[in-house]
């Protein structure tokens, strides 16, 4: 197996119910190393729940999730180790408001990985430079704009050296003029070879950056394919209806 084909994330018949409500109804897919996957679909179709099942923020009702070949369901005790491989960026940023930007980035590597403080801070500064926020290291999250907050959140996730990054509508809470700066960081990340699953309504990003697009509807992957296939020649009626609304 070449490195390119290494499966980073695999889900098999993944189901999730909230009480009576069946939110995921059997999601089976694979994500290879370096792939960028966009997940699109109407609100309430289960996109967030799917991402959250991957790192067990939600516990799947049935089915399997594998992270780099290791069954998450069978290794719940090691979940903290597994989560370190999977970074997550949230719609609402969820920065730690009581910590300076630099400490937001450095806290987990220091506490969780028990790495040397000085090395962690040096790396945190590099990451802040990478997302264009060197000058904000000593600021508190409340002093940042939305776009800056989300870039810090990306740096914070990257600080744990994840193999995969999950993005759940990273630009949906942003003012329009700030969407670009976050997408630029994500594009650069994709270019650098990061494996990414991105739930987004930014169709431009999905079309331009992703290797594969999943269209989710009512808890299933209703259609998947390359951006060209999905955007130019959708097969599924629902995909067409959805794209008709958002494009």
């Amino acid at each position: 197996m070449s490195n390119e084909d290494q499966v980073m994330i695999e889900t098999v018949e993944l189901c999730k119910n909230f009480g009576e409500l069946e939110v995921l109804k059997g999601i089976t897919t694979k994500v290879n190393r370096g792939e960028v996957i966009s997940i699109i679909g109407p609100s309430g179709s289960g996109k967030s729940t799917f991402l959250r099942c991957i790192n067990l923020l939600e516990e799947p009702t049935s089915g399997e999730v594998y992270i780099e070949g290791i069954s998450v369901m069978e290794h719940k005790k090691d979940i903290n180790k597994l989560r370190q491989k999977v970074g997550m960026v949230f719609q609402q940023f969820n920065l730690f408001p009581h910590l300076k930007v630099i400490d937001n980035v450095a806290l987990a590597p220091i506490k969780v990985k028990k790495l040397d403080k000085e090395a962690v801070y040096a790396r945190a500064r590099q990451l802040l430079a990478r997302v264009g926020l060197s000058d904000k290291a000593e600021a508190y999250p409340a002093q940042l704009s939305g776009g800056q907050k989300q870039r810090v959140a990306i740096a914070r996730a990257l600080a744990m050296d994840p193999d995969v990054m999950l993005f759940d509508e990273p630009t949906s809470a942003l003012d329009p003029e700030m969407v670009g700066e976050v997408l630029d960081v994500m594009k650069q990340l994709a270019k650098d070879g990061m494996t990414m699953l991105v739930v987004s309504h930014e169709m431009g990003f999905a079309r331009e950056v992703s290797d594969r697009v999943l269209f989710m509807d009512a808890g299933i992957i209703a259609e998947e394919g390359t951006p060209a296939q999905i955007f130019s020649n959708p097969q599924n009626e629902r995909t067409r209806a959805f794209l008709g609304k958002v494009l």
């Binding site: 790192n55 923020l57 903290n80 180790k81 989560r83 370190q84 999977v86 970074g87 997550m88 949230f90 609402q92 969820n94 920065l95 730690f96 408001p97 009581h98 806290l107 987990a108 506490k111 969780v112 990985k113 508190y140 409340a142 002093q143 959140a153 914070r156 996730a157 744990m160």
Partner: protein, 224 residues
Amino acid sequence: MDGLYNAIYKNFIRDDRYMYILNGLKITIIIALAAAVLGMVIGVVMALGKTSKNKIFKALASTYVELIRGTPTVVQLLIIYYIIFGSTAVPKLMVAIVAFGINSGGYVAEIVRAGIQAVDKGQMEAARSLGMPYGMAMRHIIMAQAFRNILPALTNEFITLLKETSVSGFIALDDLTKGADIIRSMTFDPYTPLLTAAAIYLVLTNLISFIFGKIERRMRISEQ
């Protein structure tokens, strides 16, 4: 003027009666401080219980809080003195500290629980997604933020606790209130000793407000 001097002389100076106030104040402060620390520890543990997924831990913590909040402090103090420590040689001061600590813990638990639950759910998720275990996330992310938010409520609780210690006389501890009352019973002057005790409590409660207000302002500034 002569009247005032006479009152002071009679109540405080003669036979070194001021020592009732001074020793009482010492007892009051020791009980309040130690009980506050004990109450914080118990309160945090119980708040973790009330917000825990563990059903047994949760039920225990809830029962504790209900028992404390649903019964009078004096009754708790008497039960702990006569029933729980009844046949032991534990000093009364220790009993009082334990009793008021247990009492304060019940109220602190509710304050801390509210503080924990007021922290956005996304904070715990972000922390867990970085690989932090529950306890670590609770401490460095949730509690750290909750503490800032509950400082005013905790200030109130410490003030209440200080005032509640005035029932220590029920187990024959000579705290500030009891000391003042002893002087009253010797001099038959209710005004001077009791108003003096009230003034001292007022100074102490204001001191607590002042100190916590300072801490609170410092925390706010560091986030601006």
